[in-house]
């Protein structure tokens, strides 16, 4: 096994099995780190907790719901306004968060009465919202409050409201992934099948494992609408609570982030016979293949192909403009879970960069299988990385850019590596054809920032170029470029607007496809 042992971790030998180098000749039967094991205390891991995996990652993107955490205020405060999952209803889910504010006396005497008061207060404060999710936290799990019972009581007393309970305290698993699992299973057990949807198309899907970061879901929804597909629900970005109760009526589950949401697809397949189709919304070729597969499934491949052709024609020249300029740039692809495999191969193929390392904070071995399978030879793969290992890897690999979270991004900045936010993005969306070009643009802007060039100069001893009053990114990126590429009248940089989501929300000119007679009757 080609394990990579970090110098900083020789004193914790169990870490050795958590990093591998994909050396020539290695495959998945010889090259896979351990994963999803309990974190080594004191290692300064980057993992979060199972509460945040349930509440913050999957629960809260639901947009028409009061999200209330049953516990002290900290859990809800800390997971509030730290993500960019937007919605088309004014971002209620980002703007409001609720905590039952459990105190010492409740720890001693129980907090069920407090919870009930809270539920009633919250509905009163937002009379237009009739749906609620309650998230258990460490404190209320340990004192054993029966949240389900209270929720049931309230639903009996207030027949127009519906409440979902998610029992996923912070300690319930090695990472946030434990919470993904718990909320998936709780939803399918308790809510799926409790609403019958209106079916308006012959082609009905659930779009699963998509959280509408900076509008990703809305970009994909546009494609589905152009194909005449009814998206019954999105689990959970920009998603509606009642739509998600009707998931059982879809013909197909289209799954993006298998890490966080494969459980519900698997259960829907077992319980309702709905097939699971894993797709990639990122990258021209993977996205085209994905749209084509969905089209094929419903026998409307031509509709998919029309979108693929139109979008590719429109955006490929811009993507290639960046590809020419990003060729050979070294990337550390250090996200949370699914992006390590969503992006690993396609950024190499379509942007010309080289992925020198992948890591996953909370993923399982299955994610590493996908990530390592998609990596090129030589890549360093790290499971549950920690602060010192990250720094050691940066020192060794000297990447040109890193895709990771906000705080690790600050670590990279200090050692002169520009960062892009892999979780929340810089200026997304990154899904869809235009979105993918925006990602390339953001990578380009990070690597070729004139300020980034200045950062590594030591004015006390380096030769300092004094001939320019300024540099543009293009002056830097195009210096070594072939004349034919530089002067190409086909390739062009991205010039789209900052906000491409609002126009999508206002768009009405979708084609109307007549329904098949038998289905419509």
């Amino acid at each position: 096994m080609p394990y990579h042992e970090f110098e900083c971790s020789t004193c914790i030998p169990e870490r050795k099995q958590h990093a591998v180098v994909k050396a020539p000749g290695e495959d998945l039967t010889s090259c896979l780190p351990l994963g999803y094991l309990n974190t080594i205390p004191g290692s300064i891991s980057e993992r979060g907790c199972a509460y945040c995996g349930a509440k913050h990652v999957i629960g809260t993107p639901m947009k028409d719901v009061i999200h209330i955490s049953h516990g002290p205020i900290g859990c809800t405060y800390d997971t509030w306004q730290t993500k960019r999952y937007i919605s088309d209803n004014g971002n209620f889910q980002l703007r409001y968060t609720f905590a039952t504010d459990v105190r010492e006396k409740h720890i001693v005497f129980g907090a069920e009465k407090l919870l009930k008061q809270n539920i009633i207060e919250a509905f009163k404060a937002h009379p237009d919202i009739k749906r609620m999710t309650i998230y258990q936290t460490c404190a209320t799990a340990l004192i054993g409050d029966d949240i389900d019972a209270i929720a049931g009581e309230v639903m009996e007393e207030m027949p127009d409201v519906d409440i979902f309970v998610c029992n996923s305290p912070g300690f319930a698993g090695p990472s946030q992934s434990g919470g993904h699992h718990k909320i998936n299973i709780a939803w399918v057990n308790n809510k799926v099948g409790t609403v019958e949807p209106e079916i308006t198309s012959d082609y009905v899907i659930n779009y699963v494992g998509e959280y509408n970061i900076q509008g990703d879901q809305e970009v994909m929804l546009d494609f589905f609408k152009r194909m005449g597909i009814q998206v019954l629900s999105t689990f959970t970005g920009n998603g509606k609570y009642d739509d998600l109760r009707a998931m059982h009526r879809a013909h197909l589950n289209v799954l993006e982030c298998a890490r966080s949401a494969e459980y519900i697809c698997n259960e829907l397949r077992v319980r309702y016979g709905i097939p699971r189709l894993d797709i990639d919304g990122f990258g021209f070729e993977p996205l085209s293949a994905s749209l084509r597969k969905i089209g094929l499934f419903f026998g409307i491949e031509d509709r998919a192909q029309a979108i693929i052709d139109e979008e590719t024609r429109k955006w490929k020249p811009a993507l290639d403009w960046y590809k020419e300029r990003l060729k050979g740039k070294k990337v550390c692809l250090w996200p949370g879970g699914s992006k390590l495999w969503h992006w690993a191969n396609v950024i190499e193929e379509e942007m010309g960069v080289r992925v020198v390392s992948v890591y996953t904070k909370f993923g399982h071995q299955g994610d590493m299988e996908k990530g390592i399978a998609r990596c090129s030879e030589g890549a360093l793969a790290i499971d549950d990385p920690n602060e010192l290992e990250g720094l050691e890897a940066l020192e060794r690999l000297k990447p040109d850019v890193i895709f990771t979270g906000k705080r690790p991004g600050e670590v990279a900045k200090k050692v002169g590596v520009p960062y892009l936010n892999a979780h929340a993005y810089h200026n997304g969306p990154y899904k869809g054809y235009e979105g993918w070009v925006r990602f390339a643009r953001d990578i380009y802007n990070a690597i070729y920032s004139p300020i980034h060039q200045l950062a590594s100069l030591d004015i006390s001893k380096d030769p300092i170029p004094t001939s320019h009053g300024f540099m543009t990114p293009e002056m830097i990126s195009d210096a070594g470029l072939d004349e034919a590429v530089r002067a190409s009248d086909v390739l062009r940089p991205y010039t789209g607007k900052a906000d491409i989501i609002t126009p999508l929300r206002e768009k009405t000119d979708y084609p109307e496809f007549p329904r098949r007679q038998s289905a419509a009757e």
Binding site: L277, D278, L296, R374
Partner: protein, 116 residues
Amino acid sequence: MTDMTKDRVEQLIDYIMKKCLWQFHSRNWDRERQNKGILGMTTALLCDEPVDIEDPKERCYWVDAVVLADAYRTRYPWINTLSKDEIRELMAALHARLDHLTITGSLNAELTDKNY
């Protein structure tokens, strides 16, 4: 297996590994079903044989198979020169190799979990 078959299997495997996700469902029984279903369909498509896609589950295998078969024909033109028997033989070898990489030889300790 001849060296040439081995080499061809590796090319086909490489494509699946880099471009597909269906081979990495989270449990052994799923992976067996997926590999068999999709590679079976792909073999049929490459051999121009009819496939039964009435059942949604089969249809879902089929869509992955269509895209895979098309990619194989375009990226690996040598596949178009093979006889049906040769294709079947090659795909059987591919199936065995994929099962080895993703199931029997897999180091993923979660594959044998009883539940999702």
